[in-house]
Symmetry: C2
Subunit: 208 residues, 2 copies
DNA sequence: GTCTATAGGCTGATAGAC
DNA sequence: GTCTATCAGCCTATAGAC
């Protein structure tokens, strides 16, 4: 009985490992060659298995992409949670903004998958979360939370409301990341300068 | 001699017309079904010709996409030029910002093609313009021009420089459009409110 | 569980008849 | 100029041997 359990455990550990290896390979392909290069054959080649074998671990190609996105949201939420300790909401908001951009630039193709590729995939992943706090909602909360705190403390510019302001900040940060990913050379301003400029304008424009 | 010229003209006019019809069809397909649905066969079906016929008018599929982008930049630059009459640079800048977002939302798939799809295609199209003012450069000029004027008039917040500020505005506007196109339902704030909020923050944050 | 083989689909692009 | 036929290639996913 005990021996059987150990064997079962080992088998399931091996399963998990190959699953993880598939995801690792997929991440590498998406990172290096973009989402459209993510094919079962390419993954199979990378992990030295046949394409058919992958179907034992993932229902289909979309399930692999969804897993990558999932991990991405998880990681983004985690990097936001590292900012939670900052007491001042304005400083915390700025840190979250910097973490957001850093995440996008550090994981360009995961970011692409999460926010720039397929609206339906993004939507279905976010909608799946309605029954309690998934990582997507947690991430969004980290953005709107500090703005709401500022609003409650009367520290927003007169007439400003938390939600539109948080959404405007998110849009602006997304624009910076997205533009860097799609037209790397285009906004001529270096990334750091651009981010500093944007955050400074944001603080001056909305917080008092 | 005269008759020959007329026939030649008529033929070339017919050529232009079919070329335009191909582009119209391509635009419709990209608009309705996205860039990946833009195939020679789908275009052929739409214009009731064979796929092979299209190669008489465009070298290949990329040339068709490039033509669509070209028209997009042309149209964007034109919509910016309609703002040129506004004397006050701050008001002109705001008008340009609104025109930019309107363009993106009115031509979602052309916008996608221009700024969200293929970095190399975007880059090659913009680089082709280096020998004098193409529509891309004209469009960028409409954005940075008013900011430079504000800088020259001492109307920027202390420490602000024209280029980073213009790039930050562009990034923010791009983010708004891009997010609306990819996750239509996501920033919960209505588009108009979001744009108003963003422009108000921008003005307060950078202009004095 | 993993393989090979294959069904059944799509793609861009070209050759050659008319 | 336009067609049909076709090449050569890619894809997802499955069947069935082992």
């Amino acid at each position: 009985m005990l021996a059987t359990m150990k064997a079962t455990e080992r088998r399931s550990r091996q399963r998990e490992e190959l699953r993880a290896e598939i995801l690792r390979a997929a991440r590498g392909i998406v990172l290096g060659e973009g989402y459209r290069a993510l094919t079962m054959r390419r993954i199979a080649e990378a992990i030295d298995y046949s394409a058919a074998a992958i179907y034992q671990y993932f229902e289909n190609r979309d399930a692999i992409a969804a897993s990558l996105m999932d991990q991405g949201f998880e990681e983004l939420a985690a990097s936001f949670e590292a900012c939670a300790a900052i007491a001042d909401p304005a400083a915390r908001l700025e840190a979250v903004g910097r973490a957001y951009v850093a995440f996008g630039l550090d994981h360009p193709e995961t970011y692409r998958l999460m926010f720039m590729e397929d609206p339906e995939m993004t939507a279905s992943l976010l909608e799946r979360e309605t029954g309690r706090q998934g990582p997507g909602e947690r991430a969004y909360g980290a953005l709107i939370g500090p703005v709401a705190e500022l609003a409650a403390a009367g520290r927003l510019q007169p007439g400003g409301e938390a939600q539109p302001i948080a959404d405007a900040l998110w849009s602006a940060l997304h624009g910076m990341v997205a533009l860097k990913l799609t037209c790397p050379q285009f906004p001529a301003t270096p990334t750091d300068t651009l981010l500093d400029t944007m955050l400074r304008g944001f603080v001056r424009g909305f917080i008092r």
